[in-house]
Structure formats: C-alpha cells, structure tokens
C-alpha cells in the first residue's frame, strides 16, 4: 500500500469524527510518514510501522470516547426511513387534491340544493326567474302559459301532487345520502391511496393495500355517480305547466 492509500483508508475509518479533527490527525500522520521516509525508510516500511489500520483507527476513536464498532453494528441492518422531503411533498399534493375534491362535492351539493329549492319554488308558485335574453316569442308564450296556469284545471289534485312530490323528494334525498356516503368512501380511499403511494415510493411493502385503496376509490366514485343518477325527476305536469316550469328552472 502507498501513503495515499493508507491515509485514505484511515480517513475513511475516522469519518465519524469532526472534519477538523480528521484533517488534524491525517496531517500529522502524513508528516510522520514523510519524516520516516526522509530518514531512509521506504513508503511501505513507514506505513507498516503503524500496524493494522482498523486497529489504529479504533484506538484513535477511543480517545474521543467513540465506539469504534458503532458503524459496523448499524451497517448490517438496512433501516428504511421514509424520505421526509418526499413525504411532505406528497402530503401537500394530497391536501391539494383533497381540497379540490371536497370543493367539487360541496359545489355539487350546493347545485343540488339550488335545483331542489328552485323546483320547490316553482311548485309553490312563488317566483319565476326568466332566463336573460329570452326571445320575445318565448316571452309571449310564457305570459300565455302563466295565464293558462291560473285558469287551467290540473290533472292531479294539488294534495296528491304534493304527496307525490314529497315522495320524490324523499326518494331523491335518500339516494343523495347514499351518493354522499359512497363519495365519502371514495374520498377516504383516495386519500389513503395517496398516503400509501408516498410510502410505497419510500420502499414500504404496501403495494397490495395501495391497489385495494385505488379499487375502493374507483368503485366508490362510480357507484356514487350511479346512485346520483337514480334520482327521479318530479312528475310531469300538463304541457302548460311544464313549459312554465322549464323556463323557471334554475339549471
């Protein structure tokens, strides 16, 4: 071994020490080797006088009360610590996704509420909202149909219609509840999917749970959409009323 190799290996054994200490020690030893070579010894001989490098390093470390076996003990075990940067990035992305998702759900719920409220208003005849820029023809027709409504005899009795619409309301509400539940489940699964994704990338063996969460999210979302589509419309009214309702609908 030559001087460079010796010093490099020694430094490697001492890497747990402070940089300055390492420098200090290596410089001193380098100087010693140089002086020995000057006094006639060869590089090999000068180095061999130091003895075994590992033992030498162990003794040096003892002077600092550092356990020389420390690194060896931990080398055998591969400790997979999650990369904190990845985790924080992933969780931030997740938060963004979740926020967007919940925002969308809130919007949907608001829309549904408005739709139902609008329909209710239409039914109880409180106010009629006219779409902006409606053609005159439509306007005239609307006026006609308004007049017609007040004089026309409805096919059903008011109470029956009321009952029916109550049932439809209950039907819709229950389906919306199921939708919310399914969407909630899908959201939670999506969240878990995201969280597990970061862990999977960090090396945890969670691929199975990951796929499960993805499946749960996808099926939850699709079932939710399905149940959402099962809502029933209010019963069709006679033509005049229907037209009035159509113009009055807030959609």
């Amino acid at each position: 071994m030559n001087k460079e190799g010796f010093l490099k290996e020694l430094r490697d054994h001492l890497r747990v020490l402070d940089e300055r200490e390492q420098e200090d020690i290596i410089d001193e030893y380098a100087q010693h080797i140089d002086l020995k070579m000057k006094s006639g010894l060869s590089e090999e001989e000068a180095i061999s006088d130091f003895g075994n490098i590992a033992e030498l390093a162990a003794e040096i470390l003892e002077a600092y009360h550092v356990d020389p076996k420390f690194e060896k003990k931990t080398k055998g075990i591969v400790i997979r610590t999650p990369d904190m940067e990845k985790v924080s990035e992933g969780s931030r992305k997740l938060a963004g996704k979740a926020a967007a998702f919940f925002g969308k759900i809130l919007e949907k719920i608001r829309k549904m509420k408005d739709t139902i409220a609008g329909k209710w208003r239409t039914f109880s005849g409180k106010s009629k909202q006219r779409p902006e820029g409606s053609e005159e023809k439509e306007g005239r027709q609307e006026k006609k149909s308004l007049w017609r409504k007040s004089t026309e005899i409805p096919v059903w009795s008011t109470s029956r219609r009321l009952l029916h619409n109550c049932c439809v309301l209950i039907w819709n509400l229950s389906w919306i509840l199921v939708t919310c539940f399914l969407m909630g489940m899908a959201a939670v699964s999506l969240f878990a999917f995201g969280a597990l994704l970061t862990l999977v990338f960090s090396g945890y063996p969670l691929l199975g749970a990951e796929i499960f969460c993805f499946g749960a999210a996808a099926s939850g979302a699709s079932l939710g959409l399905l149940t959402f589509g099962l809502r029933k419309k209010y019963r069709k009214k006679p033509e005049g009323e229907r037209k009035a309702e159509q113009t009055g609908e807030v959609l």
């Binding site: 410089d27 001193e28 002086l35 003892e62 002077a63």
Partner: protein
C-alpha cells in the same frame, strides 16, 4: 518484551519525555523508542487521548524543513498526572520486586 508491560508504562514514559521539552510527533516516537520498543500505531492514539484529556497542549510551529509541525506541551494537569503515575509505578515495581525476591529466598 511483553506487550502488556509496555502498554502499562508507556503513558508514563511519554509524559516524562515531554516534561523536559516540547516535542512533535515524530521526535517523540524516536525518544520513546529509546526506552521501549513501540510503534507509531500505539503512540499517536495515546497522544490524541492525552491531548483530549487536557494533559497535553498542542501548537503549531513553523519548520524550515517542511510543513508546520504540531508540538506537544505538558500542561499543569499533565505534570500532576505524570507525578501520580511515577508514584504508582514506583510502588508497583517495588512490590513486584519484593515478591520476586522473597520467592527466590524460599
């Protein structure tokens, strides 16, 4: 020579060598080698330990023959420690000699 003997007395010899005058590593190794045969692998870690325990102070002195050299200087604590070790060594040596002498006479 029994390495245990050498190890036991090495610290005392090192401290004694530096008491008279400050020395740098290579010089010190040469001095100690006159008394007992040790290699650098033993002496340098010992110097490091004694320095960390504040028995030695180190400083750099410019040299005409190359890079600046690190000199070891015995501190007050180092002097006290050396005295202690010498006393212990004397007592130890006395008892062992006495024991061996008594053994011979029987």
């Amino acid at each position: 020579m029994n390495p245990q003997f050498k190890k036991g007395v090495l610290e005392l010899i090192v401290l004694e060598s530096v008491r008279n005058r400050d020395m740098y590593g290579y010089e010190l190794v040469t001095e100690v080698s006159k008394v007992i045969d040790v290699n650098e692998g033993t002496i340098y870690p010992l110097l490091k330990r004694l320095t960390n325990e504040h028995y030695f102070e180190t400083y750099l002195r410019e040299s005409t023959e190359g890079p600046p050299r690190k000199y070891y200087h015995l501190t007050a604590a180092g002097i006290l420690h050396r005295d202690q070790l010498e006393a212990e060594w004397n007592e130890f040596q006395e008892r062992v000699c006495r024991f061996l002498k008594e053994g011979k006479h029987e």
